[in-house]
Amino acid sequence: MSRHALRRNGERFGLRPVADEDADFIHGLRTDPELSRYIHPTPPDPAAQRAWLARYYERPNDYYFCVIDQVTAEREGAIGLNDVDSAASTAEMGRWILRCGSLAAAESALLVYAIGFEDLALDRVYCRTVSANKAVVSFHRSCGLRVTDEGRQVNLAGVTYAVTEQSVDRANWPEVAARLQRVRTMAVGLLA
């Protein structure tokens, strides 16, 4: 089952809708201690991920994708556009998680922004990251995203963290796309 039909293919990696058969893979990533430090806790039972997907399929403002290596056909991770607000023309780029060592970061971000701006005709896509997750905050900054809010907090497993919101809007999307395309070229070259 899948909730939407949006997909994008890049130079090396692609996005396709998340489906039931991805549940165990995503659960494995989200319960990996290395990868899950700054995300909402995931129940240890993989059935919970399947139940979460069943609820996700019913939400109209939520687009969740599996990141695929088009050469190996292996799954690299997941990424989404959630809380799509048609009135405000915004969405959050979230639920981004990639296997350790994956080089799909730039291309998966590029493709999901392309879906946001070109397929969904959004005006702004924002990313909310735990500020202590410096690698991801720095990645977004390097790609040209602008800080749009630093006043939020999130509670993860009983610990409160500051959150940095960074955005790409229709005006700076071409600049961000150009930067991500260069990084994507670099990543694809490293895989060659």
Binding site: A106, A135, V136, F139, S142, R182, A192
Partner: protein
Amino acid sequence: MSAPDTMVVGRVRAVLGEVLGPSAAQLDNPSRDTVPEWDSLAQVEILFALEEEFSVRFPADKLNTLRSLETIVEALEHE
């Protein structure tokens, strides 16, 4: 091949230290293979930090050479 410019090496080392942490920058030849923190996210930061530091724009065919201190210095010396 001529000896690398020690000033360039020092500036690249400083960029790597800023992104990857001081212990990585102290290695003889820090690289993607020897520094666990040098992942695909850090690679992005290193690329744009180097371009800012040296006021250069690496051509597309050079981007995948940015994988160690030595290869970065070599790429910069050919700019």
